[in-house]
Structures are given as structure tokens and as C-alpha cells.
Symmetry: D2
Subunit: 266 residues, 4 copies
């Protein structure tokens, strides 16, 4: 009996990219609200999702410094499991309900990439960095204080794909300002068989069902984002018309489930 | 209409990890034959494959410096598509027929990882290096000549997982010495839905169907391989009882198909 | 007039690896006390430093997640300036005075490597990771609480060179427990000229003079360290006979000076 | 007695970044001739070098896939010693004599960085890639034939700093077309001591003295280069006005000496 959740499957299940769920996460993150051309957002939506006209092209760009663990203290092997992530969420509607859809996401770790693909996050590899907060502050480590700035950047395929800055204004005291739309993804796995390349093995709308979400040390202020034009990349079609609020916070949550909304194959 | 073969799917299909097949490859490689404990090999085989008793634990360890292209000159963007690979093939039987099965494989590039998963290669990320041959030889660049040595190494999760050396003896004049068993893989994609985690989305025995295989500059000699014990890794269970012949050569081939032998789900 | 502190020197001084001092730093770190064979420590000391017999082989192993800045907001370009570090300090005497000497140090960033070489830190590149603390804790993010564990690891040249764990017991209330010996380094720059390869361009004992040191969130507990035997590496000659206390804290400081104690060239 | 050429110095001299010379090299490379604004070239020259008016801003951009060895088979540890490099040479005059000066150079390996600094090459880290030639050619591996294209790219600090392409036309039969000007560098090492930061420890014009240079498989054709504008980088001030011939070849040589032309400190 071979064991493992993702590849590879082996007798003891230790070599697998990921242990079976539940999966535990904690992070520091930057969240930058921005507005893209509404038609650029609409063009990215899979079947089953509709443009959210009222949102008028609203998106979020997020930089995460993640720590992951399964049930076997994987957080004590950070060389294998710690990672950094950048992704974009665009506002959309699923059966009239406001949701977010993730068209682009990049991580610097294979275990994270594998978990993402299992959830419909279309992950590629990238180099992601964000300014860190350390309890001992100074000119190199911004305090959690009005005017402090935190920057993030993404490089993929050797090109600078995204840059953002959050300038803090005040702590968030009203937790409703941190509420997010549910994330609906396109779970997709192609077929290589010559006669089935137009019949993907998986092609479903899925909804993420995170739980035990905790947010701490949340500050809000102004966001700023650029998505430079890069050869062979379409992400700059979402280049911000304008940026909105920026958030910097810490969070933790648990993933152990996924809900299929609709199988998109005929 | 969203386009792309692997994630992500986008309006123009440029951001995708990989263009649709055909996929073109060329490489320099090291191939080291070795014998593991037969029961360690048997323990790795998926349902549908049987131990090849006559092979007595025979395996191959391979280091590849790859160049990839689709139909749009992807070889001119080596930062995105060039990659290095280490993998192991173990001898097995499929319905009495001699085949190879790949239990472990590591690459340093996400496009390669995605293509691999589509073919049943259980790829993880690793740092892979091999000694290079340059037409201008010297003390840093071994000639293709008797006694020349070429080394390879793999690091994954920050641990040195494999090391090998090939010492050349003579050019291969009989091409039959380069023939390989067909590669049969376990194509696997798990389900995250809480009530279906024991029902993978994909779980099939598949056979690779490479074509237009060319091999050049092939030399044969002695191989040597070590698979050190690493925390959280099972690959050292295949640690060589003894090593056999080593090969160093260049090769090219095309991939555009995959044959499903058997759906392993009930 | 060319400008820049380190290489390269250019008309505007922007391409340089580092701006001129002052250099600002903040970090989270792990500090693990251990005892090596006293003769292994003594064998590493440069001329001018004497073994500290009373220390009996005492050393410290340190994992740092650093953020750096000069006077131009370099902390907002973390892809260029943020870095991770592992180093060892061994107890020694300089003219009877207790000091620390750094025989081994690894970073993952070139600006940090260049600054280090200017201070006599013998930096090489490595991949360094440590478990992170996030304000939102959970199974993936340990709290600052008794029993919490933080791990660190170093990989260099593809080999796992060091691993450590700190298990927290209590906050440090007495700041004297955080006091450190001054760090004395060997500032060294070789000469390549064929007739001067035995006459280094620089070969000096130097003392680091950090200032504005701040430490926050310091917890103390038990340390544990391993230095595995690696091919082509001598660091394992310091393999711990036993480990002592472990510390996890945040810190910030400023570097803008270096004191030459002694020119070691004849 | 501590041993080692570069940092760190240790009892057995194994941990050092580099063994003592001689240093052996072999490589595949791309060499792209281009013309920058002459005043941009002049602005980069250190004291002691004069603009070469007749060259009219002529430069070369070079992508190298290197293999290095010392006298102890270092080429068998490619994870530690193999590397990739991009650099620019600008035409200049030293005492009326035509020479090349290297203002910018990037490598992906610390041993290479350390050797470079010993020779006056102002190396930073970067990710460098070039299209490879494999003896087995195909759509992914261009042949050495008219019309074949080889591309190179450099990323540093997460930004795409340079891109080039060489299109082959014909083999080089006249070796004089491969002759190069001697390379004169600025050997520089700053002082961190607060009162000596304007008095570098090293500030010399030096001439490289490579020997046993071999070139094989040289093809010539057309070159093409771009140096995009990047934040915090001055290299784009050399952006090509036009590109000239391109070369692709293999080479090997030995380094064991350096000639000081002039100490530039008062």
C-alpha cells in the first residue's frame, strides 16, 4: 500500500509533498485593494462566474509570508515547508453571490504549489518578498505606527511582475473591515493523451472553506500597486487604474476541505 | 474562452505554465545503473505493476540538464523553461512485460514540474547539478575520453539526497546498449473535499510514449551512486547494494501523448 | 568621479552592492549555546587570539532573519536587501579580555556578503531558514509561550551543514543574560599576483563596534544543535559535545565603524 | 596555522571559498558587440583609463556558462563550483593602449564572486541563463548551423537587467576574429573604520593575465542586446544605440596571476 497525499506515493508516506489534511497556516500579509479595467477582470472569469458590475473592476493584491504545518510538526522543517506567496483576487459573482476569483498566484515552494493545485489555485513559482516587522524596530524595521511603510515584490521567470506598498494609518478596530468574500477557484487538470487534450481530467468550479481564521495586529492605510508589462505574461492586463486601501496584519487558519460548486466538463 | 494547457488559464494563454503539446526536449545526461534491495523496489510499486524478480532490484539513476520548447521558441527564454532533473527508474513488470517505474524525481523548474505531473512523474523541486562537457576541454572541462569523470548531485528540502559519478571507458557503438524499457507511471491527483480524500481524482497506470528519440555522443563506463539517509525522505531505502555501468550522452525527443493502461480507482 | 561603497563603482553610485554606512539592521534570531572540543576551537583561532581555557570550548550558533537598510529606504526593496544568516561564535581571549571570534558564517544575499567581508565576517552563501513567530498563532505558528519550539537550518553547497532547535521556557527579565562578548574578526583579502599570493592585501584583527543595540521579546530555554559531517567542510569539527541554553528574540542595531586591533602582516 | 585562499580560513583549508590558484575554467559563451553612448562609457572609467574615442562607445555583453576547478577535482562538485555569468566590457585606453574595462558583472555562485573580487571584477549575484547546445539537436536544442539562435538573460535583485540573442551565420575560420583586448579592472576594497571610509584598503588598476586560452566551436553572426531601465540600477545608461556581431563558442583558460598597473590611492 503506497501512502502520501500528493506525489510521490511511497511505502511510509514520508516523501510526499504534503501530509494529508488538516493543513495549518500562519502568516504576515499585505493586502492592497485596486481597480483594474472591468473588461480585463471579466475576460479572466471561468464559466459559471459572472462579472460583478457593481465592483467596477475591484481586485486585491496580496503578499504573504507563510508558515505551514501538518500534524507532524512540519513547521520545524522550514527549509521544506515555509514559503512566500503573491496572488490576486478579482471580485465576481457566483449565482448572484459576491465571491473572489484567483486568476494569478505565485509561491516559492513546491509543497505550497501542490496544495494550491489541489484547491484550484493556479500557482506558478516566483520569488516573493515583503518588508518585515520585527518587535525591535529601527530604521531597518518599521514600527506598527502611522506612516510606516511595508513593500512587497514578485519576480517570476526572471521578470519583475508586481510591486506594492502599504502605508499604515491606524489599527483596525472594527473586524468587519477584514471580512472577505468567499474564494471560488477553477480546479483544472489537463489530459496529455493525444485524443483527449481538449477533455481535461478536472475542470470544476470549487469554493474554498477555510476555518478557524484568526487575524491579529491588523493595521489599515493606503495601498499602492504596479503590475509592469512583462514578455509572455498577461497579468499586466490587470494594471491598476487606481489603488485603494492597504492592510498589514498577521493571520492563521486551517484548511481541510473543498466544496465543488459545479463540474464544468460537458 | 480561457486558454492554457496547465494553470493558469487566461484570455490569451500566455501565462500558462506550459503551451499545449507537442513538447520538444534536448539534454545532456548521466545514467547510472545500480541494484537496490529487491524488497525495497517491490515495496514502491503501485497496483498493476509486479516485481521483476529476474532484475533482482535493478534500477537506474539519471541526471539530466534539459532544454524545453513548445512551438513558440520557448528555448529562447531559458530563465523560464530550461531545467535540471534527477530521477530513479526501477525495473518492474506490467502484465509480464519488462517496464520501468519512476518512484522519485526532482526538477528545479515549475513548468517541468507541471508537465511531469501530467505524465505521472511524481516531481518535487530540487537543486540538480552535473559536470558539463564543453568543446574546449581542460582541467575544468573533462574531454569525452577514457577515464574522464562526470559527477551529479541532488539537493531537496536542503538535504543532499543523491550523488553519482560516471567514469567514461569508451564510446557506445552498438545502439542496442542504449535501449530502455518503456516507462510506466502512476498518474495521481488527490481530492481535498473532506468526504473524498480517499477517492483521488486521478489514479491511473499510464505509459509514456516518447518519439523521435535521438541519442548522440554516447559513452559508457562505470557508474557509482550514493543515496544518503535524509530526515523525512524514503529514497535512501533504495541505497545501492552495488553500482553497474554508467553512461554519458546527449539526447532529444518529443512528447505529445500518454497512454492510460488502467484506471486504478474502484 | 565613481561612486559606491562596495563594488561596482559607477557615476551615480546606485548600482553598488551597498550604500555607505551607517547600516541599519533589525532581525528575529535564535541563539544556541554549545560546547565543542576545546582543541577544535583553539585550532580555529587566528594569530593574536588565545584560547579561553575557562570557556572549555564554549560556542554559540545563531540563526538570523535580517532586514537591512541604509539611509535611502533600502528596507522597501526586500528582494535586494533582506536576508537570512547562520553563524558560529567561539569564545576566545584577546590580550586576556574575553571576546568572540566568528570562524563560519553563511548568508543568502550578496549585499550582506559584501558588508560582512568589510567587517571580517568570512561569509559564504547558504540557504538559511528559521521557524517564524506570527502574532496570529496556531499549529503552524508557535506562540511565545513555554514549550514552544523554533527550528533553524543551514544548507551550503547543497549539503545540510547545521540544524538547531530552541525550546522556550520563560521570558528574559534580566537583560544581563543577553549581554555578549565583543566580536573580534580576521579581516582578510588575498592577493592574486603570482609573486604575492603569500602576502594578503589585508590580514588584520578587527573588533566590531555595533551601537544602538535593542533587544525585544526575548525568551530563554533549551538549545539543541547538530553539525553533520559534510564533504569538503570542516565546520563539523565543532560538533557539539553538549548544548546549553537557547534564546529567541528580536533585535536591532547600527553599524558604521570598525576598529583595527592589529595588522597581522609582518 | 590557518589555511585557505579566500574566506573562511580554517585548520585544513577545506572550507575556503576557493583553493589557491591556479584556477581552471571552461565554458560555453555568447558574446554580443554593441555601441552605447560614448559619454555613458566615458563616465564609467576609473582614473588611469581614458575613453577610446575611435571605439565610439563600443562594448561587449557576454553570457557564460562556466565550469571551474582547482587542483583537487572541484569540477566534480558542480553544486559548489559550477556557475553562470553575465558581464559587460567597454573599450578604453590605458596609456594609449586599447584595453577593455568591466563595469558590471553578475554571477550565481559565491566562489566565483570571491575569485572575481580578487581580480577586480565588480561581481554581484544574478540569475543568468543562456540557450544550450546539445549534440542531439531538435526544436529544443538548436544546431550549430546558419540561422540558429541562442538567447541569454540576466536577472538581479528581482529585475530583468539584460537580454540578448545571437543568430549564427557561419563558423569562424580566422582565429584573429576572436582576439580580445586585455581586460583592465579596478581592484577595490573599502574601509569600514569610521575615520577611513574615504581611504579604501585597495584601489588599484589591475590587468588580467589569463593563459592557455583555447577556443572551440566558434560561430559568428548577428548580435542583439537590450538593457531595460531598472529601479536602483545604472546599467541601462549603457543601453545599445545599435548592436553588432554576435559570437557563440566554447572556451577554456587558466588564471593564476594578476598584474597591478597602478595604485590609485594618493
Amino acid at each position: 500500500m503506497l501512502k502520501g497525499f500528493n506525489y510521490p506515493l511511497t511505502p511510509k508516506g514520508e516523501s510526499t509533498l504534503n501530509p494529508a489534511p488538516p493543513w495549518y497556516y500562519s502568516a504576515d500579509f499585505l493586502d492592497i485593494e485596486f481597480w483594474a479595467q472591468p473588461q480585463a477582470v471579466a475576460a479572466l472569469l471561468p464559466p459559471g462566474l459572472d462579472p460583478d458590475r457593481a465592483a467596477n473592476g475591484r481586485c486585491n493584491a496580496l503578499f504573504y509570508d507563510w508558515q505551514f504545518s501538518g500534524d507532524h510538526d512540519e513547521y520545524l522543517d522550514p527549509a521544506r515547508y515555509q514559503y512566500r506567496e503573491f496572488f490576486i483576487l478579482v471580485d465576481a459573482l457566483y449565482q448572484e453571490k459576491p465571491v473572489s476569483y484567483c486568476p494569478y498566484i505565485f509561491v516559492d515552494n513546491d509543497a505550497a504549489l501542490a496544495r494550491g493545485w489541489t484547491q484550484g489555485y493556479p500557482k506558478r513559482l516566483g520569488q516573493v518578498f515583503q518588508t518585515r516587522y520585527h518587535a525591535a524596530t529601527g530604521k531597518a524595521g518599521p514600527a506598527l505606527a502611522p506612516g510606516s511603510r511595508f513593500a512587497g515584490s514578485l519576480t517570476a521567470g526572471g521578470q519583475r511582475v508586481a510591486e506594492g506598498v502599504v502605508t499604515l494609518r491606524e489599527p483596525i478596530t472594527d473586524p468587519s473591515r477584514l471580512s472577505q468574500r468567499p474564494v471560488v477557484n477553477l480546479l483544472h487538470q489537463p489530459r496529455l493523451a493525444a485524443d483527449r487534450q481538449d477533455q481535461p481530467a478536472l475542470h470544476e468550479l470549487v469554493e474554498n472553506v477555510p476555518h478557524d481564521v484568526k487575524i491579529e495586529q491588523a493595521w489599515i492605510g493606503q495601498g499602492s500597486l504596479t503590475l509592469p508589462v512583462c514578455r509572455g505574461e498577461e497579468i499586466s492586463d490587470l494594471a491598476p487604474v487606481r489603488s485603494g486601501r492597504g492592510i498589514r496584519a498577521s493571520m492563521a487558519y486551517v484548511v481541510d476541505d473543498l466544496k465543488t460548486l459545479k463540474d464544468l466538463r460537458k
